[in-house]
Symmetry: C2
């Protein structure tokens, strides 16, 4: 397998999981302070990393959730974001301009901020009430499974959280297995579609932000491949008409409540294009997890599988994932 | 001008405006019944027609708004949608499968429904507490400017509503002028980009749903042209890397709070592609409207301008807007 080190994945997974106590203490502190709603506020790939948790919180509790992109908050505000909101923010660098600007406005408002940041000593950390610096730990979502899970548990929802949190110890190994299982399919995908003029990506519910961000932040930004991403529920209201026998349509099928919407797309694309690619989360083993938790893991499972497409595409197209035309190269 | 009849546009505009009393009575009845939040629930182009009103309500009041696609509601529910929600739904045919299914679930829940429907005697009408049937009246949004405006006014927000509602009498003529003003640019657009392999569409705030739906429901569904639509605030987090000197990027610039985000995209695309198309709502006259109301009209102004692209593209590409491969032709 190209660009793959199983031991390293286990190490960087444990690097987060081993600090479970620290994350749960931050959740305790947030609950102790009290809040009326949870606000997910960042931008780009970091927002998309958090957005599945809106679906998860809504399924597991009645705590209201507001999703607001940082630059939209900064320019227009949001009436449901108040000093009684618990704001969750994320930024790999911790210095994303739009997110830092929103954090400043939120701090001024008096809303407490919990942030998930890759780099120690960042501006976002300085603006946060609680900040978890994951460094080279991965996946970032593991921080939120623990923080959000503990939060809901303390509030009397998600009774099964302690069992889920114990099983999260198995996540790094489960994701290594996903990568190994999916690699042959990823290579086949890259060989078939690496020169396609355009790819359609479809998903729903907790997997929609994954498809959206993979298309935008990896295929477009890192591999310069053209995409259209569309929700399973919206696919039948326009985009379907573009499907011809040679159109590449990639579908992520989740195990959550919206699975029937994904399966409807599956039936359609398997009938009308020879280039339908269906990645079904139900096909992965996820050893060490009870069935009831599988749907929540969809985002990290999908990302682990898709990472194999990124790594193989980088190799096949001889296009380094780090090459940029504009990002951090020119001012805008 | 191809496929254009100014008198007919004035007639179908008045066909809605002349029933202003009826719409405001429905708003009175909804307020009399009482509600804790407003829920916008439909699918596809109809959802996108309603979504700008989430932004409008949030700017003008503190009434909480929930946007939930009908099929997502039906499969997964939403904890903030209760019998104390006022649900607004829309469907041109009134028989959109996903919307009717959600309306049934919402009726069972006991949530009152106000619907905006094109066809008299539809299933959605039968499930609604209040239904406005617009028939051949256009634009549909005029119903919501009046309904939502009256609603907020009755609740003590949007003090200027009576003046805005009076000025809405001028909307049909203002939109005829938009079409006439924009037609030459629309023809130029179609001649330059009708054979492009791919078009990027960008907008934000109250105009984002317009760009999203125009790309999906017109360019993709009706003209079989490939698109990527992306919010102005998200453009810099991936899609920008696809911009080359010959990439067509079309930007809608609004007059609302998020205008600075649009202008940032404008600066970028005007520097890095020769095919930047900027449609600025501030360039249209909108005679008969006070400046403070202009931003709210952005969605109908943009749609009137874009309709000239549709009509000219239909002619230039000899592709009738009604032709479908799948929609209502095969079962799925």
């Amino acid at each position: 397998m190209i660009t793959f080190d199983a031991q390293e994945f286990l190490r960087i997974g444990a690097a987060i999981y081993d600090r479970r106590d620290q994350i749960e203490s931050m959740a305790d502190a947030a609950v102790a302070r009290g809040f009326d709603n949870i606000v997910l506020c960042s931008v780009g790939g970091s927002q998309a990393m958090m957005d599945p948790f809106a679906t998860i919180i809504r399924r597991l509790s009645s705590v209201p959730v507001v999703q607001v992109l940082a630059p939209l908050y900064t320019t227009g505000g949001h009436p449901e974001v108040t000093s009684r909101s618990l704001v969750i923010m994320a930024s790999k660098s911790g210095d994303t301009t739009e997110t830092v600007a929103a954090a400043k406005a939120l701090q001024k408002l008096g809303a407490p901020i919990f942030s998930v940041v890759g780099v120690d000593g960042s501006p976002l950390q300085a603006l946060s009430d609680w900040c978890f610096v994951y460094g080279d730990g991965r996946p970032q979502e593991l921080v939120l499974y623990l923080f959000v899970g503990a939060l809901l548990h303390r509030l009397g929802s998600f009774e099964a959280y302690p069992r889920f949190a114990d099983q999260l110890r198995n996540l790094p190994a489960a994701l290594v297995d996903v990568r190994q299982t999916f690699d042959a399919r990823a290579i086949d995908y890259c060989e078939r579609f690496n020169a396609d003029p355009y790819n359609i990506w479809v998903a729903s519910g907790e997997l929609w932000p994954v498809a959206y961000a993979y298309a935008m932040c990896v295929l477009e930004e890192s591999l310069w491949l053209r995409t259209k991403s569309v929700m399973s529920s919206e696919f039948f209201h326009g985009t379907l008409e573009l499907v011809e026998r040679d159109t590449c349509v990639t579908l992520l099928v989740g195990e959550g409540a919206t699975r029937p919407l994904d399966l409807r797309v599956k039936d359609f694309i398997e009938r009308y294009t020879d280039n339908a690619v269906v990645i079904d989360m139900a096909d992965f083993a996820l050893a060490g997890f009870d069935a009831e938790f599988r749907w929540m893991l969809g985002p990290v499972v999908a990302n682990a599988a898709l990472q194999r497409i990124s790594k193989n595409m980088e190799h096949i197209n001889q296009h380094p994932l780090e090459t940029r035309r504009y990002y951090r190269k020119v001012a805008y």
